[in-house]
């Protein structure tokens, strides 16, 4: 992707769509590991998606955390893709159980056409409605940036999140980030490396060893199903980088795209 001399233009109705989503659908957020691309918006396409992750660690206080999501999305137009998600999971530590943790309303907005500028730019916003008593709602937003270089694709997500409601803990914003570099060698399976980090509250940031940071290899692929659409999948193993992070995280993703 490279630069042109044209100017970034605002999408018609983008801000009214965001405002509509904010005021009409106050829902929720949790941590699921997958990279969000600004380019994966297809008008009129339905999508069923599942993301999962599980952590392991010798210290039982850090191991045993799981996250499972079931999501339904639809490409309303060429630049807006909302999704509704059910988040299920188990907290790390002994004696925890798997519970429905929240319902999340997610919105991805494509701000530039793929390949039109030096990098592709999108915006992501979600609201997570917590279903567990005593747990705060959460909202998260930030830019999605992607660039192709030769046969590789590099994607960066930068997010700020904020707890909302009477159950919120420490006030302020939380900064998290995610990165994927993928080598597009085979459609069925392309290798990638990923990083997921959470620096914690922005003022001040926690010491590095107390931040969440995992990194590791991932395989990304897709297979056409003819009239049944397309199946996309990802799987990887991410190593804990900091003292605060579990030593290993397995993550996977399945996505079924259909167009009627």
């Amino acid at each position: 992707m490279s630069m042109t001399t044209t100017v970034l233009r605002p999408r018609t109705g983008l801000f009214s769509a965001i405002a509509l989503a904010v005021f009409l659908l106050p829902l929720a957020a949790r941590a699921d590991f997958h990279i969000r691309s600004p380019d994966e918006i297809d008008q009129g396409e339905y999508e069923l998606e599942h993301n999962g992750s599980a952590t392991t660690d010798r210290n039982p206080a850090k191991g045993g955390e799981t996250s499972y999501t079931a999501e339904f999305g639809y490409g309303v137009n060429s630049w807006w893709h909302p999704e509704l998600e059910l988040a299920i999971g188990r907290n790390a530590g002994l004696g925890e159980s798997t519970k429905v943790q929240g319902i999340v309303f997610e919105d991805t907005f494509m701000l530039t056409e793929p390949g039109e500028y030096w990098a592709d730019l999108g915006l992501y916003w979600e609201y997570a409605y917590a279903t567990l008593r005593g747990t705060p709602d959460d909202t998260l937003f930030g830019p999605l940036i992607q660039k192709d270089i030769g046969h590789t694709t590099h994607t960066l997500n930068l997010f700020l999140s904020k707890e909302i409601g009477p159950n919120q803990g420490v006030p302020g914003l939380d900064f998290s980030y995610a990165w994927q570099s993928r080598w597009n060698v085979f459609q069925l399976a392309s290798p990638a490396v990923e990083i997921y980090g959470d620096a914690g509250r922005t003022s001040p940031f926690a010491r590095f060893q107390n931040q969440q940071l995992i990194a590791g290899p991932v395989v990304v692929g897709s297979v056409a199903l003819g009239t049944l659409g397309k199946l996309k999948y990802e799987a990887g193993y991410l190593f804990g980088v900091t003292r605060a992070t579990a030593s290993g995280t397995v993550r996977w993703r399945l996505e079924w795209e259909m167009h009627f």
Binding site: D42, Q43, Y117, G142
Partner: protein, 109 residues
């Protein structure tokens, strides 16, 4: 927040700086679930905008793993697909909803 503003500013500032851009816009038409032409010459080494028009009454998806593009073309509409700069060579593309017939190749020269 400053990080986001900085990232957006860098993207905007980088706007005019980039490789050369082709003056002509190559065109593809989808008709009877086939691309016309099925082999299309495009310029190598520059950015260009490929216009894809769907004359069928059902949607099609222009897709190419080699070009890293996947874009729905609604019936009766024309969409831009920004590509390049490409190395000289051949790049396969297909219509994801009618892969048995909608196949084509871009030839970058």
């Amino acid at each position: 927040m400053r990080i986001f503003i900085l990232a957006a500013a860098l993207l905007l500032l980088a706007g005019p700086v980039g490789p050369a851009r082709a003056q002509d816009q190559p065109h593809l038409t989808i008709k009877n679930h086939r691309f016309q032409p099925e082999r299309l010459e495009v310029p190598a080494g520059v950015k260009f905008k490929l216009m894809v028009k769907n004359e069928d009454d059902t949607a099609e998806e222009f897709e190419s793993f080699e070009l890293n593009r996947e874009k729905v073309v609604p019936p009766g509409q024309e969409i831009p697909v920004f590509l390049g700069p490409l190395d000289k060579g051949e790049y396969k593309f297909f219509g994801d909803f009618h892969q048995d017939t909608a196949q084509g190749v871009l030839i970058a020269k």
